[in-house]
């Protein structure tokens, strides 16, 4: 059965191929809206209601953020740092979803307050399994704080 909810999932992902595949898999397990930002700058604009996202209704607050690290403009670590420093945003779970398994980067992300760090598998079935598990974990297993819609 598909998981559902009104609060969406924000994918901060510059690779269109990675986004397409993630979206393809997520669509089959959840009815939640899926939003995407293609770089760090626009992700922060989205979350902080700045620039093109100045109107709050254009940028509904996500229930979960999937964050790639290797991003144009502002990189993923900086996006993570700003999210975790913002009183309003810091309760949103941020799952780092990236290619690199370098111990240094994993360490930095957890230092900055990442809620999970996951390495993107180069294996479609594993990716599907990972994303399904992620959805189940954040939306069925754990309880997240209540969030008033903007």
């Amino acid at each position: 059965m598909k998981e559902s909810g009104s609060q969406g999932i924000l994918l901060i992902e510059d690779s269109t191929e990675d986004y397409t595949v993630a979206q393809y898999i997520l669509r089959r397990v959840t009815d939640r809206p899926i939003m995407r930002c293609r770089d760090g700058e626009s992700a922060l604009d989205y979350l902080l209601h700045r620039g093109t996202y100045a109107e709050a209704q254009d940028a509904p607050c996500p229930a979960l953020i999937l964050l790639d690290l290797n991003l144009p403009t502002i990189d993923g670590c900086e996006v993570l740092r700003q999210i975790k420093q913002d009183v309003r945003l810091r309760t949103i779970p941020v799952v780092v979803f990236t290619t690199s398994a370098q111990p240094h980067e994993i360490d930095v992300c957890y230092q900055l307050g990442a809620n999970s760090y996951m390495v993107k598998p180069v294996d479609f079935e594993r990716l599907r399994y990972t994303l399904e598990l992620l959805m189940r974990y954040w939306f069925s297993v754990v309880t997240l704080p209540e969030r008033s819609s903007p």
């Binding site: 690779s15 191929e17 397409t20 595949v21 290619t99 690199s100 370098q102 180069v122 479609f124 079935e125």
Partner: protein, 288 residues
């Protein structure tokens, strides 16, 4: 003052000046070399970052898109076309395996070793537990004629060495009754530090003499890609690198058709052998 003494003083002064000049030159050279080393370390770090992020991304795209295509086409696609699409995605995965090995190898040369007193017997048992399924499936006899010493080394890295060498011993074996023997003996000391030689012996396929050096080259395999369980061909290169980082050496002796023995030394034994062990005395023999 005698003229001899004046002359002498002048000479001393000259030498002192020359020494100062040489010292300054040396310092300058050290500073330059250090800067160059720092630069090359940074470049290596950037290279590792580039490899792990940028090279893998298109690869993942290729793999995933082949899968999306398979799902979209569903039952309309013929068995042959399906096999070709699956080949595309498995090739992408193979490439990822190669990139990961390369990255791991790069990191091994850079990172500091986490030295700790390590009971090598325990490390080997951890590896055997990890390989339990393979050992059972192939009915492999594991022989440990004597307990292994405690050595000051990077535990995780040395575990990796044993893992790679034991896995090779299992993989490259075509005998009906397969065995692997793991042991150690004292090696000549390195300076004041006592040293141990470990060995992993098998009754496998062995290596022809003219291939002995080649097996340590990165991604070098002596067999067709999918024979003997496949693999990227990085295991021995990585094992050798780890041992060399510890200040040891790794080498092989082999008889083609009869089996191979891989040896490596690790300086820094904490305890040498508890009492005198007799080869073959109370051997730990396990039939998997």
């Amino acid at each position: 003052m005698s003229s001899g003494l004046v002359e002498h003083e002048a000479t001393v002064k000259q030498y002192a000046e020359a020494l100062d000049r040489l010292n300054a030159e040396l310092e300058q050279r050290v500073a330059e070399r250090t800067a160059a080393l720092q630069r090359s370390n940074e470049e290596l770090q950037q290279f590792a970052h580039m490899v792990s992020h940028d090279l893998k991304e298109p690869l993942r795209g290729m793999h995933n898109y082949a899968h999306l295509l398979l799902e979209d086409l569903g039952s309309t696609v013929s068995g042959e076309a399906r096999a070709k699409l699956q080949t595309i995605s498995s090739l992408a995965q193979r490439m990822e395996g190669l990139i990961n090995s390369l990255l791991h190898f790069c990191r091994l040369g850079q990172e500091n070793l986490a030295y700790e007193d390590t009971d090598v017997s325990m490390v080997v048992h951890e590896v055997l537990n990890l390989l339990h399924i393979t050992l059972t499936q192939q009915g492999i006899e594991v022989r440990m004629p004597q307990p292994l010493p405690v050595v000051r080394c990077d535990r995780a890295r040395v575990r990796e060495v044993f893992h790679n060498l034991i896995l090779n011993a299992i993989k490259y074996n075509d005998k009906p009754h397969k065995w692997v023997e793991i042991g150690a003996f004292p090696a000549p000391s390195v300076g004041m530090t006592p040293s141990s030689t470990f060995y992993i012996r098998d009754n496998g396929i062995g290596i022809r003499p003219h291939h002995m050096e080649m097996i340590f080259a990165m991604f070098k395999r002596l067999h067709p890609r999918d024979d003997y369980g496949g693999g990227t061909g990085a295991g021995l290169t990585i094992a050798k690198k780890i041992i060399e980082r510890h200040g040891g050496t790794l080498w092989v002796e082999s008889t083609y058709g009869a089996g191979s023995t891989f040896y490596f030394t690790l300086p820094g034994s904490v305890t040498r052998y508890e009492g005198e062990w007799q080869p073959g005395n109370s051997p730990d023999r396990r039939q998997y």
